[in-house]
Symmetry: C2
Subunit: 347 residues, 2 copies
């Protein structure tokens, strides 16, 4: 929270605040006919496009802790989490609406800080803010964002299209955002009520993955260039394990993935070791990676194998074979879903 | 909250709950290609339609009090508040997304009750639930709904089109929802910790306006039948006064409205008298009416005058003349905006 200057929200009023936040928003997309400032935004899409809509809610104390999460980063991350869902449909995000509920502890400067992160993410990904709602809350901050995007007709990729023998691929690496969270929690406790600074040295990457994640736009462009169309896709927000279960369940298939192939960054591994946690468990169940998990026909093996941002971690099998991880020792272990809630317990 | 049967949310888990709520949703509109159950909904609109998007957030303790607001009604009202914004653009609502944040005090039966109201409103107005998010909250209930609708290209009505000499019209009557709220608050205090029932006799109408509002779909159909296209339109969610200010500011005009023409229901007037409040002030500043406020060219006078659901309350004047209410005594009083927050103080 801002400590240098503090202007109360009441000094502007609700309408004044909304105008200050949304008065001069840029428009990047031709589809955004009329943005904030009316009862509804006016958008215009064409017959040959499908429109994609996704929504997410972030609650203070559940999804973020403002003692170590800067408001600007929070705004940025809230946008990324939403547009990542549009990319996960093989779409292009075009617009978002932003609803905020704020308790009295927040001042105008805080909200501007939050909004600056929202705007930065929108600029980076070419997205327009076309509306929203700003209201009060009894306790804490709530952020609800709806993202709207498009895909050429017939090009949206669902979770349900995975077929036997398809390859299972992930982008980037996994577990880093979760390890970043553990680091922040550890340093929060270590520095509480003490006059010392948190120690993040050598852990900048996992910190950034937690505090300023990015969406995997460039991988989709690469796949499209190479004419590879995923058969199923999802973004990894709740952990590889549960996302794989979504794809398998909705596609009516099973899977085999290989522990040794799961991409893990060096800092993630070091942090897990420091905390005496199993790094594979972190990669399987840690949330907020916003990497893409997708399946491709085996015929595309050569193409995806050549992409440095993509790792093939396993393959699709028949439903009757179930979902399993093959460990480094060659042992087959059944995959179990773990939601974000149980992750927070810190296994 | 449900007291007869209580199933904890944890017994189903997040994914189980979402599936239970959205597993069998009907699809009413051809535009809804794929609803809940993927990263994003897939919608399909045509070139000759404009797409309208609106969003609202409702926070427990700020927008509703669950001691007297039944969850089913709350769900219904949250949908109405959102689709009312689509109607206020002269559009037809087609889809909504529903995000809920719930604290531990809520059980599965509560959420099903809330959802039953959401679904009822959707059925009444032909709207599809195409997605959402369900998450936890540290305290209370937060509901965020985004509504998506369409209007034939060029037919969306903005706030900015009012012209000098246009007639100012409202649908239905005003202040009733606010008086319903005052009644509920009074009876909450009167019956607190006592073994008596609240007394709502003869006040059913204002109670219904607060607890189960409707959107003014049929008036738009009537206007369309009669070939009347409003020049500017807004829905009355924060009170006539502030909505008029939005239209005038965005249209660059002033207005004159007449106290004696403001439509007020008998029960609203009785309740205001009982509470020793000025009923015109209630109509001007009381929120949540979800009536439509719109302007039409003076040439349409005869047509709108003949519509029983519509009342002409004044006319548009030049910007330099400002915004004023002419009282029953013929005194001109400047109109001032009052947000919902200040209304709650109970003037």
């Amino acid at each position: 929270m801002n400590t240098t200057k503090r202007t109360e929200i009441s000094s502007l009023g609700e309408f004044g605040l909304i105008e200050r936040l949304t008065g001069n928003l840029p428009v990047n997309n031709k589809e955004s006919v009329k943005g904030a400032g009316d009862d509804a935004a006016i958008l215009q899409f064409s017959n040959d496009e499908e429109v994609l809509v996704s929504t997410d809610m972030f609650m203070e104390g559940v999804h973020f802790d403002l003692t170590y999460f800067p408001l600007k980063h929070l705004g940025y991350k809230a946008v990324i989490a939403n547009i990542s869902d549009i990319y996960a449909m093989n779409g292009t995000p075009k617009q978002i609406t932003v609803s905020l509920a704020l308790s009295r502890k927040f001042c105008i400067e805080d909200i501007e800080e939050l909004y600056s992160g929202i705007e930065l993410a929108c600029r980076q990904y070419g997205v327009d803010i076309v509306g929203g709602d700003t209201t009060s809350s009894l306790t804490g901050l709530a952020i609800s964002i709806t993202a709207i995007g498009t895909a050429p007709k017939g090009c949206a990729v669902r979770r349900s299209g995975a077929k036997e023998t398809d390859l299972i691929c992930v982008t980037g690496n996994l577990g880093a955002a979760y390890m970043g969270l553990q680091l922040l929690e550890r340093e929060k406790i270590a520095t509480a009520d003490k006059d010392i600074q948190p120690d993040f040295q050598g852990k900048e990457y996992i910190l950034e993955r937690q505090l300023k994640p990015e969406a995997r736009k460039e991988v989709l462009e690469k796949l499209s260039e190479e004419n590879v169309k995923p058969t199923a896709m999802i973004d990894i927000s709740d952990g590889l394990s549960s996302e794989l279960m979504h794809i398998c369940k909705q596609s009516g298939v099973g899977c085999r993935i290989y522990e040794e192939r799961i991409p893990i960054d060096y800092q993630t591994a070091i942090m897990a070791e420091e905390l005496n946690m199993n790094v594979t468990t972190c990669a399987l169940n840690g949330g907020e990676d916003y990497e893409l998990l997708f399946t491709v026909p085996i015929a595309d093996h050569e193409k995806v194998a050549a992409m440095k941002e993509v790792r093939i971690i396993g393959h699709v099998v028949s439903d009757s074979m179930g979902l399993a991880l093959i460990t480094r020792d060659g042992v087959e272990m059944e995959l179990k879903a773990q939601g974000w809630v149980s992750n927070s317990d810190g296994k």
